[in-house]
């Protein structure tokens, strides 16, 4: 018993249209540009953490206040990503939207690099956060339209590798850049990368065929579809778990009797290993999505459950 690979979970009306309009080849160049844009976005999100002491010294504010640069960024995503993507979808061509988003990133980083005060810097981060929300909410549906239907999983793996690499190395890169140049220069470098990516995107990204008959995205209709709410709860729970430990991995390692230097090493191990996971997922997401996702979540749960035991053998023996 096999399901038709093209119409997995897709209502038949769109699937038949997709069959005729879905492109035959994978635009690798475009996907790599998107991956690089995602990398830049997440590095932008994490960079202030690596440069905290420098920024706090120069703007003469507390480090915790500089921490608000990251918080503001995340908060604005929560409030703007949905309304904006609903408003712009269908009104602006997807390719134009993505390029505008990358340029907004570059502009946000230039403004941040020039900020004379913390207030100005927060304003610049607000712009960056809006761009971040737009980028992630428009990227995946765009990718789904520019690759053949049966390679969506593989294409997502390529594009989202940028995200994963940045989560692993974004903060360390920030620290490294901070030791080589001023924090202002670091953000200018990111802005330059953004501008370059916008040019490449203009050149390499294919236009997405937007069917004229396409409905305006309706959140209510989407939530009525079976499974959407389940995924919208289960996925964030997994990220919640990841960031629970990711944020406090330093105290955990210290409590397990490992030296402070183990922290950055461990985070690099997690980052590099996640690349392996992405690679495996890219090969299995289109053919065995259910078995694979269950296996991955079981492994993740096991890894978390076993870490305290492995980290401190003595504690296990006594307990």
């Amino acid at each position: 018993m096999k399901q038709d690979p093209v119409v997995v979970g897709t209502p038949s009306s769109e699937a038949s249209r997709a069959e005729t309009q879905q492109p035959k080849k994978i635009p690798w160049g475009g996907l790599l540009v998107l991956a690089a844009a995602g990398f830049t976005a997440v590095t932008t999100e994490l960079l202030p953490s690596g440069l905290l002491p420098q920024i706090s010294r120069e703007l003469q504010v507390e480090e915790s206040a500089v921490g608000s640069l990251t918080a503001v960024y995340a908060a604005i995503i929560v409030f703007t990503a949905l309304p904006l993507s609903r408003f712009l979808s269908g009104r602006v061509p997807r390719k134009t939207l993505l390029i505008a988003t990358v340029l907004a990133f570059a502009l946000s980083n230039v403004l941040l690099a020039l900020s004379p005060t913390l207030g100005w810097a927060i304003g610049a981060r607000l712009l960056g956060g809006i761009a971040h929300g737009m980028l992630w909410s428009s990227m995946a549906p765009y990718v789904a339209r520019i690759v053949p239907a049966h390679s969506v999983g593989k294409a997502m793996a390529v594009v989202f590798s940028g995200n994963s690499i940045a989560l692993a190395v974004g903060a360390p890169i920030g620290t490294l850049m901070g030791s080589l140049m001023t924090w202002r220069a670091s953000f200018l470098v990111l802005a330059g990368v953004g501008a370059l990516l916008a040019v490449l995107a203009f050149w390499l990204l294919p236009g997405a065929h937007d069917h004229a008959s396409q409905k305006t995205p309706s959140l209510r209709a989407a939530m009525k579809l079976p499974g959407v709410v389940a995924i919208a709860i289960a996925w964030p729970l997994l990220l919640l778990a990841h960031f629970t430990l990711f944020t406090y991995v330093a105290p955990f390692l210290l409590a397990s009797g490992l030296p402070e230097s183990a922290t950055s090493l461990s985070l690099s191990v997690v980052g590099i290993a996640s690349l392996v996971g992405i690679w495996i997922a890219g090969m299995t997401a289109d053919s065995r999505p259910r078995t694979a996702v269950i296996a991955a979540v079981v492994l993740l749960t096991l890894a978390f459950a076993l870490l305290p035991a492995l980290g401190a053998p003595g504690w296990v023996r006594s307990g």
Partner: protein, 93 residues
Amino acid sequence: MTLWGIAFGAVGIYNQAAILRAGGEHKDAANGLTVVTIQLGIAVGAVYGAFALTTVGAQLVPLAAALPTAVALVIIIASRRGGYPAGPREKRR
């Protein structure tokens, strides 16, 4: 640590593919919904981590992280017909 990384890298891709599949013709809105809930997840994760750190101690923070993944696992197993259907090369059970 390695296991954590591999599994975490993989679940992101599976879920991204799953939401686009489940979203069907409303995949933009469905995807936008996850963009928001994910940011909430990240923010709550940091807060929850801080809470775990003060209540059960640094050494047991990973155990605290295993709780939400276990809940997610239950949701995934329960929604075979909805969010996480079997793929073309998987036998229907």
